[in-house]
């Protein structure tokens, strides 16, 4: 239960932090927020003082700071995000639309990275210092130094511009998934593979592992019964921590490929100073990090009961 309590406090702190950050953003906007919001709503050619004043009155952009901040946090904790300043739709609905697209992309990327990374890492870890191990070290170090946007750029240039194999942008068909998911997955796979390799090499060197083989289990049986379960614990834990990297990647990759997800929405919301939208998306991302890591805590405790003690 201690894990759950810690995570609950973390979730609360995340909400307060995001509340404070977005409130500061609202207050400290360079220029007059009312004009910007009016521009976002009515188009840049139709903004005048009257429109800006109307927006200012409607949203209560004037007034003292502290009561406004407390009210702001209260709304946030009641999960009342308000309406988007640009579209006028409730933020919850907007996020509901976009979250699905993002989760699909992130899910495919994680799956792809798990297919690519850990199996190679485990094979390398079974023979530390072997050819595969050394090649994997070089490849994964190289891949780790390529940021996701650069990976996206390289994939677009090679696969869609030069060879015209895949569409560079778009959404809706299965083939549109390949490039953005691959751009995310390669970086994740590079790290996954290293984690799996290190864990496998460590476990393979343990006495119980050699003992399993002395008992007469074949290498395959030993790996299956005694290796994989042990390797999966650090791998899962790390996967939870990587979620932040994944979200950052999703924000950038969605912007590059024009994917209609939450990251794309976030960049646009920040660009047009749509504070309720920023707040909603940021909170959604922060809380999903806490949620996923709570789940992973619980799962790893099931896999390795020694951790629960």
């Amino acid at each position: 239960m201690n894990t759950l309590m810690t995570r609950a406090i973390q979730a609360l702190m995340v909400a307060v932090l995001i509340g404070a950050a977005t409130f500061a953003m609202m207050r400290a906007l360079p220029g007059d927020a009312a004009y910007r919001i009016a521009a976002g709503r009515y188009g840049y050619d139709n903004v005048d003082t009257a429109a800006a004043d109307a927006v200012r009155d409607e949203l209560g952009l004037g007034g003292p700071a502290l009561p406004a901040f407390l009210g702001w946090l209260g709304d946030l904790l009641r999960l009342d995000f308000g309406t988007s300043l640009v579209t006028g739709q409730p933020v919850i609905e907007e996020i509901g639309h976009q979250l699905g697209a993002s989760m699909a992309l992130a899910g495919v990327a994680v799956l792809l990275s798990l297919i690519l990374g850990p199996p190679l890492g485990i094979l390398a870890g079974l023979r530390p210092g072997g050819v595969l191990d050394r090649v994997l070290l070089v490849v994964s170090t190289g891949l780790k130094a390529v940021p996701q946007f650069l990976m996206a750029l390289i994939l677009i240039l090679i696969l869609s511009v030069q060879f015209r194999l895949l569409p560079a942008a778009g959404h809706g068909e299965a083939r549109h998934f390949i490039l953005p998911a691959l751009a995310l997955a390669l970086g994740l796979a590079a790290v996954n593979a290293r984690i799996a390799r290190d864990a496998m090499a460590r476990i393979g060197a343990m006495p119980f592992y050699s003992f399993a083989q002395w008992m007469g289990l074949s290498p395959r049986q030993t790996l299956w019964r005694h290796g994989l379960r042990n390797v999966s614990v650090p791998l899962l834990t790390y996967l939870g921590l990587q979620f932040v990297t994944l979200v950052e990647g999703v924000v950038v990759v969605e912007a590059v490929f024009g994917w209609p997800g939450i990251g794309h929405a976030l960049v646009h919301a920040i660009f047009s100073r749509d504070v309720p939208m920023v707040q909603g998306t940021a909170l959604c991302l922060g809380l999903s990090f806490v949620l996923i890591n709570t789940l992973i805590d619980l799962v790893t405790q099931r896999i390795d009961p020694r951790r629960a003690a």
Binding site: A24, A28, T141, L153, Y238, V244, V247, I270, A282
Partner: protein
């Protein structure tokens, strides 16, 4: 009977040296380059747009006829300068808060740790974007936002190490001899933390450069005439067929810089 499997760590020294050489090469290019071949990163001559290399512009011209060599050199000064400033601020802040939290314990420790945990749950890119919207001036915003993101790592490292060191018999003995906290920090805590801080600093610098470039690439970072790595790439992307080298030069420079920093940091314990 001792058939201990040797787990080969990546050859520490050689790897770090390679990383150091890469980073140094990129930085020397950015600092010395414009001195060796004088030129202006903002000067346009549309006649020369996308034309190839010549003595005044060793890497050719971009789509607006500006020398890519000089733009690249300026970009390679800007991002590392912001990154290093942010890492220094974050490192100092994290070190002070981390040792303070570990030494004081109690509520100070609890509050700071909770704050750090909450920040850890937020994608750094997001925080930087929000701070960029608050702080006037893009470079200043990047510095503030990146410092806010990066201090957590330094805080956690120095807190954990200090915690461990303070509980050791050596520190107890020092205290019994009557030495003050400054002495304990200098002789016991700092030597323990210093190597970790260097690794974290290299990772932090790489992260910062990646963030600046990524936001530039999606048009929410540095603004247009400023030479910046991500911005240069996205500007030159449409001219890939006409001038592949124009696009490849910032790509290669960014990769070399990031690879160098990753190697310099060495392998992180998992």
């Amino acid at each position: 009977m001792t058939d201990v499997v040797m787990i080969p760590r990546p050859a520490g020294h050689a790897t770090r040296c390679t990383g150091g050489v890469l980073v140094a090469a990129v930085l020397i290019f950015s600092l010395i380059g414009p001195l060796a071949v004088p030129g202006d990163p903002f000067a346009q001559s549309l006649m020369k747009a996308l034309s190839g290399a010549e003595p005044g512009a060793p890497l050719g011209y971009d789509h607006l006829g500006r020398s890519i060599f000089h733009r690249l050199a300026h970009a390679l000064r800007l991002s590392p300068a912001i990154a290093i400033a942010a890492v220094l601020t974050a490192g100092l802040g994290g070190l002070v808060l981390g040792t303070w939290a570990a030494a004081r314990g109690g509520w100070t420790d609890r509050i700071l740790t909770t704050l750090a945990d909450a920040l850890l749950a937020l994608p750094g890119l997001l925080l930087v974007l929000i701070v960029l919207a608050i702080v006037p001036g893009t470079a200043l915003g990047f510095w503030a936002g990146l410092s806010l993101v990066l201090w957590v790592e330094f805080f956690r490292l120095s807190r954990a190490a200090t915690h461990e060191v303070l509980a050791s018999p050596a520190v107890q003995a020092t205290r019994l001899l009557g030495f003050g906290p400054t002495y304990v920090f200098r002789t016991h805590i700092w030597p323990e933390i210093a190597p970790m801080m260097l690794t974290a600093a290299a990772f932090g610098t790489a992260t910062a450069i990646m963030v600046i470039a990524a936001l530039g690439f999606v048009h929410v970072g540095m603004r247009a005439p400023t030479p910046e790595l991500g911005l240069m790439m996205v500007e030159l992307l449409p001219y890939w067929r006409e001038a592949p080298m124009a696009l490849l030069s910032p790509v290669i420079a960014t990769f070399a810089l990031l690879l160098g920093l990753t190697l310099l940091a060495g392998s992180r314990e998992t």
